[in-house]
Amino acid sequence: MLVLALDTATPTLVAGVARRSAAGDAEVLAERAVPSGNRHAELLVPTVREVLAAAGLALADVDVVVAGLGPGPFTGLRVGVVTAAALADARGVPAVGVCSLDAVGSGARTVVTDARRREVYWAAYDAEGARVDGPGVVRPEEAGLTGPLVGDPRFAERLGAPVEPAEVTTAGLLHAAAGPLADPSSAGPLVPLYLRRPDAVPPTSFKPVTTA
């Protein structure tokens, strides 16, 4: 089974193609991690083209699309999610979503990524790599997260502990998708893990335009 994996939950855009055996072993054929900042929408499709070309494959060869559902900054996150949904729809193949944090690092760890507004997204994993807590969003100073911490090292100081640098990888996305990939046709629609409500406050009362 040929898998195309995409993630835009962090400033690093990730696209990769991998072959997954019936036994569940994944071999990454080509992968790109592009530090694209807020240019995910510009760079994702060209990057997908690149990884397919590097693997000597065409989109028509892809059997399933795996997408990171975040959590991550909303605008960039949606680019990856809607791209995965549209590619899968146009090709008539299933799309499978995973928590992006599950695809960072391996084994016992707590993953932290940038949630902006001086907060981090986090999730904790046991020795088998299974998520046991999170995903959540929290101020690093109040997080009380227990290590080893992996992910975005810029938060080390505010977390009061070192953070081993790590990013989303294609292998990580496939690993996280192992369950649904066993039966991808049963996957539901891709719904981002927003974790925050939209910022919006209804106007409390009618405000006169004039004061005279």
Binding site: L43, P46, R49, F74, T75, R78, V82, A90, T210, A212
Partner: protein
């Protein structure tokens, strides 16, 4: 040889639109809207709109293709609104369109939402005469455009210096306690009112004012003052008269300036576009004044005046026919894309 089949994606504001056209023939116009979710906020909340676009995207594509009776593989080109609009909202449609273009191996055209508001008329009245003058009046824009070539050259003659016409409708509606968006309820209320009841100001109509620019901020404030004075005095507000008189002021200024621009530039075709072009009084007064001035007026049906995917497909179709180069693979969205950039 049949004309190319073009699918168009629109997500610049709160409508998720997917349209399908062949040449100038409208085949499908599927729409999902998050307008009800914004109502209690009195305006569009960008993040709510963006989330709704993502949720609606694939189902809306399915509806459009089913309505058109075509398969994805029948599509010859993909068009998408690349701006102007809300960045987060634009990017959902842009990313989706780029993905469909990649998967279907078809060219992608990033188009200007405002030019698309003009192009939509071709689906109802055939190819636009060129040059035409276009009066584009929507929620975010009010512009007079000279259109020598809709596929390549659109020249702004004037624009609003403050509020857009649709914005004025929305704000006045709020003053009158009407729901959002305010255009339709004001239009309805005005039918029972006297357009000459209150003499609201006509902005920028003095002899030394910019002939093609418009201003609606003063009008909006004048309406609010008038209504508040009534309320303070404990008198009932004659809502229908206020709506009719406000609407008359907007329609009067817009049509007078559009007809003048036609005359000054020797252009005898005027096309209206944008959500406010759905306004019944603007349509009637434009009809009247164009007839008197010997100008051919073209107005799309109200359904196609507000945001939709068909308008994007219509402009895409025009670009394909004109042989304009498709967009580069790294196409992005530009929230303030200038009106003269028809495609990018």
């Amino acid at each position: 040889m049949t004309e190319p089949l073009v699918i168009g994606f629109e997500t610049s504001c709160d409508e998720t639109g997917v349209g399908v056209v062949r040449g100038h023939t409208l085949l499908a116009d599927a729409l999902a809207t998050s307008v009800a979710e914004h109502e209690r906020f009195g305006g569009v909340v960008p993040e709510i709109a963006s989330r709704a676009h993502l949720e609606a995207m694939v189902p809306t594509v399915h509806r459009a293709l089913a309505e058109a009776g075509v398969a994805p593989s029948d599509v010859d080109a993909v068009a998408v609104t690349a701006g102007p609009g809300l960045t987060g909202a634009l990017l959902v449609g842009l990313a989706a369109a780029k993905a469909y273009a990649l998967a279907l191996d078809k060219p992608l055209y990033g188009v200007n939402h405002l030019a698309a508001h003009v192009a939509v008329d071709e689906l109802q009245h055939g190819r636009l005469a060129e040059p035409s003058l276009a009066l584009l009046v929507s929620g975010g824009h009010s512009s007079l455009l000279l259109v020598p070539d809709l596929a390549r050259e659109v020249t702004p003659l004037g624009r609003t210096i403050d509020d857009a016409a649709g914005e004025a409708f929305d704000k006045v509606a709020r003053v009158l306690g009407m729901p959002f968006p305010g255009g339709p309820p004001i239009d309805r209320a005005a039918r029972e009112g006297d357009p000459a009841a209150i003499d609201f100001p006509r902005g920028l109509t003095g002899p030394r004012d910019a002939p093609y620019d418009v201003s609606f901020s003063g009008l909006k404030t004048a309406v609010a003052r008038w209504v508040e004075a009534r309320r303070r005095a404990g008198e009932p507000v004659p809502v229908a008269d206020v709506a009719a008189s406000f609407q008359e002021a907007v329609a009067d200024v817009l049509t007078a300036k559009a007809v003048r621009a036609c005359r000054d530039h020797g252009v005898d075709h005027l096309v209206l576009g944008g959500g406010v072009a759905a306004n019944s009084r603007l349509r009637a007064l434009a009809e009247e004044r164009c007839a008197a001035a010997g100008i051919v007026l073209r107005v799309p049906s109200p359904r196609l005046c507000t945001d939709n995917g068909a308008m994007v497909a219509a402009l895409g179709s025009r670009l394909v026919a004109a042989g304009v180069a498709p967009s580069a693979p790294d196409l992005g969205a530009d929230s303030s894309l200038p009106v003269e950039t028809v495609s990018r």
